[in-house]
Symmetry: D2
Subunit: 110 residues, 4 copies
């Protein structure tokens, strides 16, 4: 892997910080609160897929209402995950870069 | 919110696709498989915080081994979430943009 | 640990089977569908605790509406977990008995 | 539903309380700690199913090592869920009874 940026979240972190600042939410955004909120959103994401079976899940893209719901739940997970990284001081680009290097060693390409 | 990019994952999606291609993993990356794998990683993230209490969680940054573990688990969640978005056709930047607009309406700034 | 029964779910499994039979739900209750449904309910359980902080969580019992909500979400997790055990052929009493023996070896009492 | 007991956890709650007492674990078993621990175990349960596909999941029973693993993870979820009910004061039998009555109203049998 080259040194190119894998994920750039500067726009998002700025927007999320402003959002929390304007609403006085920073005091609610402790690491454990955010982990529990993340779990809540992952639960909503799982619910989309719960009765579909593998074939139904593959066809989700053809159902506009469900697809919009999927977009929203994926976004919610990403928003809380980014916020968790912010308050714990984790650099997402560095984190995924390090992890992919580690994965490449653990699972070498044939 | 302006039209600036909130999150740019082009480098990451390219790297993830190459990683899956080289290992023949695309057939394993169905939406439901990825959701379950995501849940597994969220579980490992939650484990980091399970016995800490709120105070211990706030001090996590001062414990290098635990902080590295936190980085890795956050990365794992992000990798599977990005992969899920890829295989379901969700544009992460569009998804978070739409969701933040919706959140701003739901929770208006005072 | 003696040979006494740790958990007796006979009444519940009978009631759950009848409930599924009467509604034609058995075909929906595949193991992976039930795991995803369980994750959805765990998410709802986590949501109850997400903004409380540790002190607020301890005081939950004094808030009748929230306590009822908690009862319901704990019940939902238990219902899907029991149903998952049923369809995969896991005996819950045997499972917890074996696991507690294993835990007692892993964490010996001082 | 008659007034028969749906789930009897008296043996289990006694064993769990003794286990925690002997190891001085009661102070660790706050509601939020237990919810996060539960999420961790649900993650391990999900991992069993993550790469199986629906067909592989149905065949899990024929693989003794995996089946034992499944028993253990289901047990772990049940142990933490029971412990959570204990520390929050939720009566599991009452909770599932109330929820099944509610479900029967929400989803009437045809």
């Amino acid at each position: 892997m080259s040194d190119e940026i894998l994920i750039d979240t500067r726009g998002l972190t700025t927007a999320l910080q402003r959002f929390a600042d304007e609403r006085g939410w920073n005091r609610h955004h402790s690491p454990r609160n955010l982990v529990l909120a993340l779990v809540g959103e992952v639960g909503e994401l799982a619910e989309i897929f719960q009765w579909l079976g593998d074939d139904g899940a593959a066809a989700l893209r053809d159902d506009p209402a469900r697809f919009t719901h999927l977009q929203e739940e994926i976004a919610d997970v990403l928003l809380y995950l980014t916020r968790l990284a912010m308050v714990t001081g984790v650099d997402l680009d560095q984190a995924v870069r390090d992890k992919m290097v580690k994965n490449a060693i653990k699972y070498p390409a044939p």
